[in-house]
Structure formats: structure tokens, C-alpha cells
């Protein structure tokens, strides 16, 4: 029973991580789109984004720890930390490690945003668009439950949600109200030094 408990926890925590990460990505896109209504201030979007991101890491940690300490998986800590080093489903599990490490970089840099400055922080944050699909693939490839109805439904819903969010983002154009004006001014004053 304890053995199965760890195994169910790993799989459950994995599913929850996927759902939470999907919500986080969605909220990140809502932040950029400056979505707002009288009952939904922008600091709610950013606050939820931050809190759910931290919760995601908690469930991700649970997912990783339970999978490693489970005696039946024969996974050592190395497998969890070094991508593509496991014996079990090397490739698909390796994707999970990659996704985890990308997310770790994103979260750590976000916590240190004040020290890093906006530009460096933003460059790393773009990796979200890699971390999420890699995590989804890991779940599909490694997951024991992939073909079960509930996991299929969850995965499909998450992919749909992020798909819609990205579509809206791409069709929204620039979110910076000064973008066009700034660009046209810069072309007007961009010259080269001459001798």
C-alpha cells in the first residue's frame, strides 16, 4: 500500500503540475495583454500568476521526490537532475528533467528580478514557451495514465487552453502603446557618425 501511495502521488502530482503550469502560462499571457475589468484588476493577474507558479513548483517537487524515493522506480537522484541519464524511458523522462530545470531557472530569476534587471529577466522568461511543451511531452511519453480517459481529457484541455492563449497573443499585435511612434522617431534620428 505505501508503495502504491508513492506511485499514485507521483502521477497525481504530475497531473496537477501540468494543470497549474497551464494556468500560469495563461495568466502570463493575460498579463502581457493587459487584461482588466472593474472586478479583475491587473495586480490580480500578476498576483495569481506568481502564486500559482510557486504552487506549481511545490507540486513539481512532490512529483520528483516521490518518483525518486519510490523503491519500485529504481530512479536515483541523478536521473532526476541530469537530463537523459535514467535507465527507465530515458528520452521521455529526460524531457521532464529539462522542463524542470528550465522552470527552475525561470522561477529563480523571477525571485531575483530586482537584482537582474528587466532585460535579463525577460530573456530567461521566454524559456516558458519551451518549458511548457517539453513538460507536456514528458507527461505524454512517460505517463502511465496517458491513455486513460481522464488524463487524455486533462492533457487535451491544457493544450487547447495554451493554444488559444497563444493565438490571442499573436493576433493582438503590439501591447506597447508607444511602439509605432517610438519606431518611427528612431528611424528619423538613426544616423551614422561620419568623419
Amino acid at each position: 500500500m505505501p508503495d502504491t501511495l508513492l506511485w499514485y502521488t507521483t502521477r497525481g502530482a504530475g497531473a496537477v503540475t501540468l494543470i497549474l503550469l497551464t494556468a500560469v502560462v495563461g495568466l502570463g499571457i493575460l498579463t502581457v495583454l493587459r487584461v482588466q475589468s472593474p472586478s479583475w484588476p491587473r495586480f490580480l493577474t500578476t498576483g495569481l500568476h506568481r502564486n500559482l507558479a510557486l504552487m506549481t513548483m511545490v507540486f513539481l517537487a512532490l512529483h520528483i521526490v516521490t518518483s525518486v524515493v519510490d523503491p519500485f522506480t529504481h530512479l536515483g537522484w541523478a536521473a532526476a537532475l541530469i537530463p537523459f541519464s535514467s535507465y527507465y524511458r530515458t528520452f521521455w523522462l529526460g524531457l521532464g528533467v529539462v522542463s524542470f530545470e528550465l522552470l527552475l531557472a525561470i522561477v529563480v530569476t523571477s525571485l531575483m528580478r530586482g537584482f537582474l534587471g528587466h532585460h535579463a529577466w525577460r530573456a530567461i522568461h521566454w524559456l516558458t514557451y519551451a518549458a511548457w511543451p517539453v513538460g507536456v511531452l514528458h507527461g505524454v511519453g512517460t505517463g502511465t495514465d496517458t491513455l486513460s480517459a481522464w488524463m487524455l481529457a486533462i492533457t487535451a484541455a491544457c493544450i487547447a487552453a495554451v493554444g488559444v492563449a497563444i493565438f490571442v497573443r499573436l493576433t493582438s499585435g503590439s501591447t506597447d502603446p508607444l511602439a509605432t511612434a517610438r519606431a518611427s522617431f528612431r528611424t528619423a534620428v538613426d544616423r551614422r557618425e561620419l568623419r
Binding site: 484588476p41 491587473r42 495586480f43 500578476t46 498576483g47 528580478r113 528587466h118 502603446p177
Partner: protein, 72 residues
Amino acid sequence: MSPQHRLVVDRIKCDGRGLCAELLPELIRLDDWGYPIVNSESVPVHLLPLAQRAVEDCPVLAIALRRSQVKK
């Protein structure tokens, strides 16, 4: 002498996101185009936590709390 804090906006980085005004309407209001008009006097002590939150929540790190020593 006691440390006073003032809110300072980097006007070039500021993008008119408006989170600062949502969090701290006592000191920040938005102009007709969505950009913050900040009360440049010292932040009252009871509002400092919210001011700190406004600084952290700004998506482009355009607002900061500067310390200034003021003789009382």
C-alpha cells in the same frame, strides 16, 4: 532624522500598465492616457508595504522606492 521613502518612476521604462495605481490609489492616480501621476512626497509608514508591493508587481520594474534622509 528618520529615513523617508519616495516613489520614483522611470519615465522611459514606464509602459502605462497601471498596477501601481491599482495597488496604491492613495498616492498614485492615472492620467487620461493610463500613465501614473505619483505623489512625490514621502510615503506614509502605513502605506510602505503596499508601496513595496507596487514596486515588485510592476511588470517592467519602472517604479522604485528611494530612500532619502530628511531632517525632521
